[in-house]
Symmetry: C2
Subunit: 588 residues, 2 copies
Amino acid sequence: MPQLRLALNQIDSRVGDLAGNAETIVRWTRHSAEQGAHLVAFPEMVLTGYPVEDLALRSTFVEASRAALRSLAARLAEEGFGELPVIVGYLDRSAAAQPRYGQPAGAPQNAGAVLYGGEVALTYAKHHLPNYGVFDEFRYFVPGDTMPVVRVRGVDVALAICEDLWQDGGRVPAARSARAGLLLSINASPYERDKDDTRLELVRKRAQEAGCTTAYLAMTGGQDELVFDGDSIVVDGAGEVVARAPQFAEACVVVDLELPAGVADAPVGVVDDGLRIDRLVLSEEPVPAYAAEPAGGYAERLDDDEEVYSALVVGLRAYVTKNGFRSVLIGLSGGIDSALVAAIACDAVGAENVYGVSMPSKYSSEHSKGDAAELARRTGLNFRTVAIEPMFDAYMGSLGLTGLAEENLQSRLRGTLLMAISNQEGHIVLAPGNKSELAVGYSTLYGDSVGAYGPIKDVYKTSVFQLAEWRNRAAAERGQTPPIPENSISKPPSAELRPGQVDTDSLPDYPVLDAILALYVDRDRGADEIVAAGFDAELVAKTLRMVDRAEYKRRQYPPGTKISPKGFGKDRRLPITNGWREGARTGG
Amino acid sequence: MPQLRLALNQIDSRVGDLAGNAETIVRWTRHSAEQGAHLVAFPEMVLTGYPVEDLALRSTFVEASRAALRSLAARLAEEGFGELPVIVGYLDRSAAAQPRYGQPAGAPQNAGAVLYGGEVALTYAKHHLPNYGVFDEFRYFVPGDTMPVVRVRGVDVALAICEDLWQDGGRVPAARSARAGLLLSINASPYERDKDDTRLELVRKRAQEAGCTTAYLAMTGGQDELVFDGDSIVVDGAGEVVARAPQFAEACVVVDLELPAGVADAPVGVVDDGLRIDRLVLSEEPVPAYAAEPAGGYAERLDDDEEVYSALVVGLRAYVTKNGFRSVLIGLSGGIDSALVAAIACDAVGAENVYGVSMPSKYSSEHSKGDAAELARRTGLNFRTVAIEPMFDAYMGSLGLTGLAEENLQSRLRGTLLMAISNQEGHIVLAPGNKSELAVGYSTLYGDSVGAYGPIKDVYKTSVFQLAEWRNRAAAERGQTPPIPENSISKPPSAELRPGQVDTDSLPDYPVLDAILALYVDRDRGADEIVAAGFDAELVAKTLRMVDRAEYKRRQYPPGTKISPKGFGKDRRLPITNGWREGARTGG
């Protein structure tokens, strides 16, 4: 059987940065060529970055993407890679689609191209469009209707894009019908907790359906709320794993494959799901026999805590650097949330670029102030203290606030203080809220919710504890100082906005709260089902009421890395004026 | 030809409030029966409210909607309306859809039902699903595949839902194929500027295509960012308008129609677009001949300024009341934006429920303070003054801020002050930003952007002037005091955050800015096209850069009524880390 050395470039790209992304593609193509690759691939929409959202509807951007693709093809040939087929994801438009009401303006497509001989040799577009969870692709794209098959060194390579593998039908059976020797799918598949297991099973299943070796090339890095965890996979037609790339790291995965030769009477015409086979022969002559490298390698999986922590670090780093910032600013209360955020930030951008401010009020305990300072000492971040008492007194003198208004005031004074330092010194402010408190609205709008990014907004409080302990343990194992003070982990959580306040004054214990939230928010279970799962009916009703009422606050919370099957933001979009209360229904 | 008296109930409903909405439906059905109606209709998803967003994906909510529908049918019969067919929009699920990856969980449907004889006699679901602009219906619903036709008093009535009329194909040609005598579409069609003209032309065209009288029943009121302007329309098969309901008001539109009798050999089976005709005979016997009332009336259209102003009032009133608030709080600078917001608020909830605070700094001019007080005097709103100097001095003493940091501080101190009063007294805070300044980021995050609702966030500054002048003129014509001080309209716009500051220090003149924004934001034109339209290239580049960079601030801005073809929010969702700059491309 013909041999083929495949180079899967699992890389990051930046939305909108066509010139920068093209440069990156050239660099990794050069590296792939140096590795002796015969076929080179890049992720879904690598040229434009992913997700482009409404940029897809701007015709100037679509044209800029198309022009950048043509330039890239020419550039690759100029650099000496004209004979090396390179597969690149980009944004295109359908030439065939007639304008009609309800179709995305300009008929944009989530497309792939085969660059060869200085030209755009073949293009195709994603057939299955995801429109759930973080995806809105029916809003932005019209589907592709071809089954592209390129013959490379005698092997028929069928091409697909991401969702084409996730949904039944379409290009997977079509690759079998077309008698392809290799199915190559390019992806920008956002990270979710435990998704790596799902993805592996998926690729194995699809390879068996396609009846040929299947390569799944993933994106890595972060963009806005999304983080891409890499984890590219190559599986043979029997479902056995041939290679697996590392998580959360850029990599060029080189695999030597033996693949069936394309046949002379290869099928043409319309096959499964109405897909029309679109064949292109680039090179018939197989590669002269060569000694294959040992199987492509199987990168070790991270354990669960390290995986989530890595996602948070990669997501934050991408957000900070892609937005043109160098340093971050965090309010340090001495509590575990801001301590974990600081540890993540130090890992993401370096402690020398992390600025922490302790902003004690008269209700701040001595140990809180001490814990914040201790965190700074352990991590080496830049630390200062600014008391909020003078500002607090000025407001109280003018307004005479009481109760919740007085509590929230302290939080808002801190938010204003952080933004003032940010404006003055140019750091990006990080918001410390976790998913548990955001879910139930246990936070102050324009107070502790202030910030451009919320690193742990999709992390339940019980996971906050777990990640803090993991990070300290990992440091100890490496012989480093654990970054998070033991006292920040062990003391009872408190907002310290009134004397003796603790979170459990207002909320259930976190393990109970998080278990209820996981059922209600992440799994859309109803009150009755949650009670049936063993929780107190009154507590369930109270919790669900809090969640239903907190929607407005959540909408105004900054983005952060999504790590859960169902976080907030696009995955939780109840109308704000929501008369229907899951909690109230059974709580009366 | 048989006669039929149709009652179209153009009403408001509240998302999630199943019990309250059902009660409303019973009340308006009673009224319709008292008017002698033979067929009664209510808007799209009236029972659940519209849009339900992610509530559609909660099976408990879907089941609650289905149960509420059954109870409503029984209740109507108990109240004596069992023989009166009532058409109601609600949320259902498809019994036929098999679960599959990528399909909305539980296969929810945007459905309609015919209630008759105490039962749910027939159900159907929207066939064309909109997924653009403010709509995300591919995310939430699976399409219906029937062409429902009910025979009422000998007349075949074909049923449709909203988008079924907007997109080509589907139920309009199917109604003709089914030889319907009346096409009745129930809608929740959000207001856009000038949409009434589009809608009228649409209904006329569709009536001609269907070849029968077509009734378009609209929703009115407001929900979150959407406002529904009413404007129900009945058109005969030749495209002539029979009746038109008022804008922005609840109404029961009663129309006497003469319609062709349903034929004995009425078509069955699958017709256009794969729709299967689903026939139900409720009553064959025509209504005994009666003296028809004169043609149903043609409510006068509002002029353009009054129409937009009405949308803003209705949207704000709905947001405040549906969220359970009674009173609003506004920071009054003496400028035109907060003055217009205050005027809208007084019209929406009554001046006695509007609280204004003047928050002068050392940079506030005497006339600004005077203009704010004058606004209060003219409208009768509740007014107080709280100087921010003590808070400002406290921060400056601790931080020593300069430049932009000092300017933004003042704005944030005001935001914190408003939130403190809101927490203390229970008013909902309104944010005064207009679309021009939001588009270019000329606002302070957590400062003047503070608020639960931004009444004029979708109104360009040039329109702000126009609406203020219209409102004053309308008052004068009614012999009332014009609410907005002449000086607030005539003076040059200024943020007053440093001595002598005016908006034109940072921004183009508003007529130029707004014209560029209308092309760039609302019409997705590129830099070259905008320059070709006659604008200075450097100014265009500078403006587009500002817009591209302001995305993050806009995402954190509170909701407000959408009145433009393309506002912000769902209609402008560029990724935040956007490397592609339309402005930079031609500005270099």
